[in-house]
């Protein structure tokens, strides 16, 4: 969830999407301004943070980058639980990755935080010659499902900061910190966790 105060907001954001869609590359571009051609696969999950300034606030994104393979699906709820925002990434050169993205959207709609801001990112937009997913198709899907949509390129940096910035603008302001963030283990009652909720720094 996002919590606010003094116009400073901490927001947990999770990246989900097919193997090799470019989740880690988007994060690396956004957080460090770098791009690695052969970004190694993510094992388990990676966490990083980056702050953006929007009109009325500073948003510090706490970013969870996850492993894409279906086999690790069962770990995903641990990471998207309590997230204020999600970027669901597909690869515009791979139709199957859009289908996988749709599954993630469905899962978040049924399992995730109902106030979650969801963005659909069609990554690898620089590879226009290999495009398999029409912009219109993804745009229409996003519209139907209340996501906002951008085609991005971690390689050229196109729309990378923009998508995070857009999310920052859409985060609910002054939302009370009612849901726990982070991990819940061993089926403990959530009440025990309240103290762990993030707050402005």
């Amino acid at each position: 969830m996002a919590s606010s105060g003094n116009k400073s907001i901490n927001a947990k954001l999770v990246l989900l999407g097919d193997v090799g869609a470019g989740k880690s590359s988007l994060v690396l571009r956004f957080v460090k301004g770098q791009f690695i051609e052969f970004q190694e696969s993510t094992i388990g999950a990676a966490f990083s943070s980056q702050t953006v300034a929007v009109d009325d606030a500073t948003v510090k994104f706490e970013i969870w980058d996850t492993a894409g393979q279906e086999r690790y699906h069962s770990l995903a709820p641990m990471y998207y639980r309590g997230a204020a925002a999600a970027i669901i990434v597909y690869d515009i050169t791979n139709q199957a990755s859009l289908e996988r993205a749709k599954k993630w959207v469905q899962e978040l709609q049924s399992q995730g935080n109902s106030n979650m801001v969801m963005a659909l990112a069609g990554n690898k937009a620089d590879l226009v010659d290999s495009r398999k997913v029409a912009t219109e198709e993804a745009q229409a899907y996003a519209q139907e499902n209340g996501l906002f949509f951008m085609e991005t390129s971690a390689k050229t940096a196109t729309n990378v900061n923009d998508i995070f910035y857009e999310i920052a603008k859409r985060l609910p302001r002054l939302q009370p910190a009612q849901n726990p963030s982070g991990m819940v283990l061993l089926n403990r009652p959530p009440a025990e966790k309240a103290a762990g909720a993030s707050c402005c720094s």
């Binding site: 052969f38 696969s41 094992i43 966490f47 699906h73 069962s74 991990m183 283990l185 061993l186 089926n187």
Partner: protein, 662 residues
């Protein structure tokens, strides 16, 4: 759980198919209880068998009782048995008699009301079997997975439906009773644990009922269940015994740490005699190994800023003794020394001495190609040069045959073979981003990258059930780098996956059991740190996921990774040295972790960023020391069959109690 939901569809489809096939007529009322007690044993068929199904009478691993779960079909009725292994734990406080109390002897499914399955995010899957009488058996933990198969088997042979209220509750119904068939009453009775259930047991006369009193006093689980009942508080639907367990852990801390401390003291005295006297700590926030000579510290882990919070002392350092040190690391095993290990025909004369030597020093790189196949148990230690040459040739042919299986898939066939295309696509995506900064794998169209792909694809056919999983390319890459040869790399990888395959199982059971064992080890080796993790929602140890999944491959450079792997592969002190290695790293940074009050997010980031920062040799020495320190108590934290141990398939390892009641 998401995974559960996915499984559910197939579960129900299986069930529907099974019930259509069998029809009501085959579900006989199980009055065979009387028959079997009269000694009839004909026609009993074991339809399901699972080893390492365990109950946890207390939170102490030493008290956990592993056994074999069976479903037995006889005369159309299904029975469940669970028989503990005999003489499993030498240091167990439970006697054989106590164990017998827990034995489940041929309970007919007509006496079973429901089965609840639990998929905790950490720890093992377990089931709770509730009897029609309202009594329940203690949770049965499936160390090697298999809950789904268990339920599927029950579905095949008895009437089982999923509760409409709770997808994890499966209601067993007596099919002959049409009223029950309507499934009108799906409510679970309040679950009350019993050690044994004489009233419902077929083999009533064999139940040592006289021991029940003792058991209730001695068994923590029974105690807590009983008190809940007395208070009239219903047990929560989602109650997890692991939670009760953790609530008790705090109270028991002193006992556990005292054990560790006593062990440490003992070792300390021994080490004094051995001349390994460690110097006294001036401050406990110093790096554990400050006198390390082989590898210099690039940085002192705890030197970055002063801790913001008072840090509880490391119990192993509490008594002003440093952690008992592992022996000094030795130089790597070289060619001349290696040749002394071999007899004239090439047999390794003393495999244990060799393992010990490699454990303490590793192997020179040019020898790895010859030695890794031994360490991975692809080549037998007692094989001769000629035998190995022959094996290599045979295995090469076998590899070629396996490889042709996917090579012969035409384009047209591939179009109709989604699973193949998906696998190949996944592997293609991963091999091009595996160790590409290494000259061995860099550049466009690198043939070694193609070899990685071919071997992984062949493996995914060789072990089609496991398939390909992210992380495998990391495990293969150093092997190919060392072995060079395609077929030899493949077979070494196969051997490695015999041990690490469970890391990649769909239900994550292999990872869960290792993370769970790790948490128990930290609990006995650094209880304040464990306590800290517990209070800060880090108790699942998922921040160590990458370490364990791919054996620290991402934490060290290539050469150190290879050294660490060959040390781990010797399994000289423990099959699970990697878990002690995890503890060793955590202990090196404990003051920073606690001092900076890291939460799970920060901790995961911190741990991920330790990549390239960990001193290998000093940490290995710490791991060795911790392993010795923990001793049997440490070993008891790690259930049998936890990867990289091989699953226990050979039941003769544990002599059985009289197993076949029917």
């Amino acid at each position: 759980m998401i995974e559960t939901d996915i499984n559910d569809l197939s579960d129900d489809a299986d069930y529907a198919a099974a019930s259509r096939q069998q029809g009501p007529a085959s579900f006989n009322r199980s009055d065979s209880g009387r028959r079997s007690s009269s000694g009839e044993t004909e026609g009993a068929e074991v339809v399901y068998l699972k080893d390492n199904v365990t109950i946890h009478p207390t939170q102490y691993a030493a008290d956990w009782i592993s056994g074999r779960l069976k479903l037995i079909k006889q005369a159309g009725s299904l029975f469940m048995t669970w028989i503990p292994y005999k003489g499993q734990n030498s240091n167990a406080r439970l006697t054989e008699k106590d164990k017998n109390l827990y034995t489940i002897r041929a309970v007919p499914f007509s006496d079973i009301k429901s089965i609840r399955r639990h998929n905790p995010p950490i720890g093992w899957q377990y089931i709770i079997v509730v009897l029609s009488s309202g009594l329940a058996f203690p949770p049965l933990y499936f160390y090697n997975g298999g809950v789904k198969e268990f339920l599927a088997t029950v579905k095949q042979h008895a009437f089982l439906v999923r509760s409409a209220d709770d997808a994890n509750v499966f209601v067993v119904n007596d099919f002959q009773d049409p009223l029950q068939k309507t499934l009108s009453s799906l409510e679970l009775p309040r679950a009350v644990s019993v050690a044994n259930s004489p009233s419902s047991s077929v083999a009533l006369s064999e139940s040592p009922s006289s021991g029940n009193q003792e058991m209730t006093e001695g068994g923590a689980f029974n105690g807590s269940a009983a008190s809940v009942r007395q208070n009239g508080t219903p047990r929560q639907k989602h109650n997890d015994p692991a939670r009760d367990l953790h609530m008790q852990v705090l109270e028991k801390f002193s006992l556990v740490t005292r054990f560790a401390r006593e062990t440490t003291s003992q070792l300390f005295r021994e080490s004094q005699m051995d001349g390994f006297l460690a110097s006294e700590r001036r401050r406990y926030d110093q790096p554990l190994v400050e006198h390390q000579s082989l590898v210099e510290h690039p940085e002192s882990p705890d030197s970055n800023g002063s801790p913001k919070t008072p840090v509880p002392a490391d119990p192993l350092e509490f008594d002003k003794m440093s952690l008992v040190w592992g022996k000094p690391r030795q130089p790597r095993l070289g060619l001349e020394e290696w040749s002394n290990f071999l007899d004239s025909e090439g047999r390794v004369m003393d495999a244990n001495a060799l393992k010990k030597r490699i454990f303490y020093g590793g192997v020179e790189h040019n020898l790895r190609r010859e030695l890794w196949p031994f360490l991975l148990e692809y080549h037998p230690y007692d094989s001769t040069f000629a035998e190995r040459e022959y094996l290599v040739a045979i295995k090469k042919l076998e590899y070629e045959t396996l490889k042709k299986q996917w090579q012969s898939i035409s384009h047209a066939q591939a179009r109709r073979f989604t699973k193949f295309r998906e696998r190949k696509g996944l592997i293609d995506k991963d091999v091009v981003r595996t160790d590409r900064s290494l000259s061995f794998y860099d550049g466009d169209d690198n043939p070694n990258v193609h070899l990685l792909r071919d071997i992984l694809l062949t493996y995914s056919f060789y072990n089609f059930d496991l398939g390909y999983c992210q992380g495998m390319s990391d495990l293969l890459s150093p092997i190919l780098f060392v072995m060079k040869d395609e077929s030899e790399s493949f077979w070494c990888f196969v051997s490695l996956m015999e041990r690490l395959g469970p890391n990649f199982s769909r239900d994550q059971s292999g990872m869960h059991s290792q993370l769970f064992a790790l948490s128990k080890l930290v609990e006995i080796l650094d209880s304040p740190l464990h306590n800290y993790f517990q209070q800060n929602e880090c108790i699942n140890y998922f921040f160590c996921f990458r370490w364990i999944l791919i054996q620290f491959k991402r934490e060290f450079d290539f050469d150190r990774t290879m050294l660490l792997w060959e040390v781990l592969w010797t399994r000289y002190l423990s099959e699970h040295l990697h878990l002690y290695f995890c503890v060793a790293i955590l202990k090196r940074y404990r003051n920073k972790i606690i001092g900076e009050q890291m939460d799970f997010d920060t901790l995961l980031k911190f741990i991920n960023e330790l990549s390239g920062q960990i001193d290998l040799n000093p940490t290995l020495r710490d791991a060795e020391a911790l392993c010795i320190c923990a001793g049997e108590n440490g070993a008891a934290c790690i259930p049998p069959g936890t990867p990289p141990s091989l699953p226990i398939e050979d039941a003769s390892v544990y002599p059985q109690l009289e197993d076949d009641i029917l």
